[in-house]
């Protein structure tokens, strides 16, 4: 049985719930420890690597106690969820005034921002996570990154943004991260093709909680856990 640690932002919470409620068929394949926390902790944080553990400290969420997390280095596989969470990018108010070049004809009143400008912004925000991942990769047997769902189908309506702009902003964010992961030799467990269409997560794979703009459904989480454990995930026929 493989020992796995999945840690990071709130998407880990979705995975944990799915694992407990719907993951019986997977539990004989692996033992998984989940550490979920508010995504904002991962914007600014400190870490250190000792002989036994990776120690993480973050005090970046106002009104909440600091995050103190020790992760054993001897898990067979460590999975990090956070850098591919693109919601802070595609939900940013900047998209009410600016668009990317491909959306410029659809948004004639918007200013046009270059992809390079957007990439500079995203890279800066992710810098501490990039350094962190470099350190982890060289400190543990196997390290991969978890990809949360593409923007949920309800996001454009909810944030009064065009579908194309949401998708473009999301792709910009994920593109920066995937490029960096590729250059760093770090794999990602990517969202299965059948969970999304035209850049947005399908309703079946989006959480049913109406006010939630970014978490996946149990189906999404199970599909991702199956992919992680080498089980061929299959599209859901019905919810």
């Amino acid at each position: 049985v493989k020992s796995i640690c999945i840690f990071g932002d709130s998407h880990v919470g979705s995975l944990r719930r799915a694992w407990r409620r719907h993951g019986a068929h997977l539990q004989e394949l692996a033992s998984i420890d989940f550490f979920s926390s508010h995504g904002a902790y991962w914007g600014r944080f400190e870490h250190s690597v000792s002989d036994d553990v990776i120690r993480i400290h973050s005090n970046s969420v106002k009104g909440r106690s600091p995050l103190e997390l020790d992760i054993r280095r001897n898990y067979d596989l460590i999975v990090f969820s956070s850098p591919l969470h693109s919601s802070p990018t595609f939900r940013h108010r900047i998209w009410h005034k600016y668009c990317l070049p491909e959306q410029s004809e659809e948004h004639p009143k918007h200013h046009v921002m270059s992809y390079a400008s957007g990439e500079a912004w995203i890279t800066r925000r992710l810098q501490s996570r990039f350094s962190f991942m470099q350190d982890i990769k060289s400190s543990v047997p196997q390290f991969v990154v978890f990809e949360p769902p593409k923007p949920l189908f309800r996001v454009p309506t909810r944030y009064q943004l065009s579908r194309s702009l949401v998708v473009a902003a999301d792709e910009l964010h994920r593109g920066v991260v995937f490029k960096w992961l590729h250059q760093s030799g770090i794999d990602a467990i990517t969202a299965p093709e059948f969970t999304h269409q035209d850049g947005l997560t399908l309703e079946n794979y989006s959480t049913a909680t109406e006010g939630d703009p970014h978490h996946g459904s149990f189906l999404y989480s199970i599909a991702m856990l199956e992919k992680l454990l080498g089980v061929q995930p299959k599209p859901a026929i019905a919810v």
Partner: protein, 350 residues
């Protein structure tokens, strides 16, 4: 009857009274300016030195036109790197009147340059403003989309500005042998490939520069009859010359021609002023003390000194000086020449 024609002239007309008997910092009456400038929408363009005029307008709380504002997601340093806030539009340095004329024609007459997207590796550059995206664009389509947007903003700027401040910088430029398009940099410096059959060197002469500038003034006034102009000449010497002359001789030629054209335009057109930033920096009173050790770049103290003359007669009542502007917070030891593509010629040579 007057004893001679100089008898009633003011102090400013006499070297002994206006210069020799004064400390350099007390020289006055160099520029009258538009006293109502604080109420006017001012746009800037031109050679490197023009960057300071925009920055100082912002610093003093004047209604400076920023038609392509930086996305708020960028830090001040990032915005600067991407050429935001340097001029009223993101056209980069417009060193020659030929470049300015082309821009006006692109905006108002549908000029369509042939060879304007250059490559460097797998990145694409707008050859007419290669410095504004230092890493280039991801594709030719992206270059085109940005240029469409840029031209729309430039058009709006020309249609709505009250005062256009333009700093003339160079007479030398590289042009396309296909359609004569003048570029701000030689092909191969930032991007593109230099091919002698595709590109030719040009050193614009007085009649061409006067014609280009007159054309621009006329074209802008067709769409914006009340527009006023302030012309300046950059005191920054050439980084390199492609003529056979020594760079010092080439600099003197270029600056002399530009200075003569600017002066004549101010004399020949209504509401066109010449602002003598060139004289303030290069003139004898300051003994070239405002130049940095390379004798090319101007120290911040020199820029500040120039700007005191620019604003001296302007009623700044009601203007709200910004205390935390990007310009003010910048370490500007080099006087702002970080956006000078021409300087790259020198760097290449080292």
């Amino acid at each position: 009857l007057k004893k001679h024609p100089y008898i009633d002239l003011p102090e400013r007309s006499f070297w002994s009274k206006a210069i020799a008997s004064r400390h350099a910092t007390e020289i006055a009456d160099l520029f009258q300016g538009y006293s109502d400038l604080a109420k006017l929408r001012v746009a800037t363009a031109g050679s490197c030195f023009a960057q300071h005029i925009g920055r100082n307008l912002i610093k003093r709380g004047l209604p400076y036109m920023d038609m392509e504002p930086p996305p708020a997601i960028l830090t001040a340093g990032e915005a600067d790197r991407f050429g935001y806030g340097v001029y009223s539009c993101r056209y980069g340095n417009i060193y020659t009147t030929r470049q300015l004329r082309q821009l006006v024609d692109e905006v108002f007459s549908g000029r369509n340059p042939v060879d304007w997207i250059w490559q460097k590796g797998n990145r694409c550059f707008d050859a007419l403003r290669p410095g504004v995206e230092p890493d280039g664009f991801s594709s030719e389509d992206e270059v085109r989309a940005h240029r469409r947007y840029h031209l729309a903003r430039v058009k709006l700027m020309f249609e709505t500005l009250d005062v256009f401040v333009f700093t003339m910088g160079l007479t030398e430029c590289w042009t396309s042998t296909t359609d004569g398009t003048a570029y701000p940099t030689a092909p191969g410096v930032i991007a593109g490939t230099f091919r002698p059959e595709s590109y030719a060197f040009a050193n614009l002469r007085y009649p061409e520069i006067y014609e280009d500038a007159s054309y621009v003034i006329g074209k802008i006034r067709e769409v914006n009859p009340k527009s006023r102009f302030i012309l300046t000449v950059s005191p920054v010497p050439l980084a390199a010359t492609a003529t056979d002359n020594h760079v010092l001789v080439a600099t003197t030629y270029s600056k002399s021609v530009l200075r003569a054209v600017a002066g004549d335009l101010a004399d020949d057109f209504d509401n066109v002023l010449y602002f003598p930033s060139y004289e303030v920096i290069t003139g004898q009173p300051n003994r070239h003390a405002f130049y940095l050790p390379d004798m090319r770049n101007v120290a911040q103290a020199g820029v500040d000194h120039v700007m005191t003359h620019f604003f001296k007669n302007i009623d700044l009542t009601g203007a709200r000086a910004t205390t935390a502007s990007k310009a003010e917070n910048d370490d500007d030891d080099e006087g702002g020449y970080e956006h000078c593509e021409e300087a790259l010629l020198d760097r290449e040579a080292v």
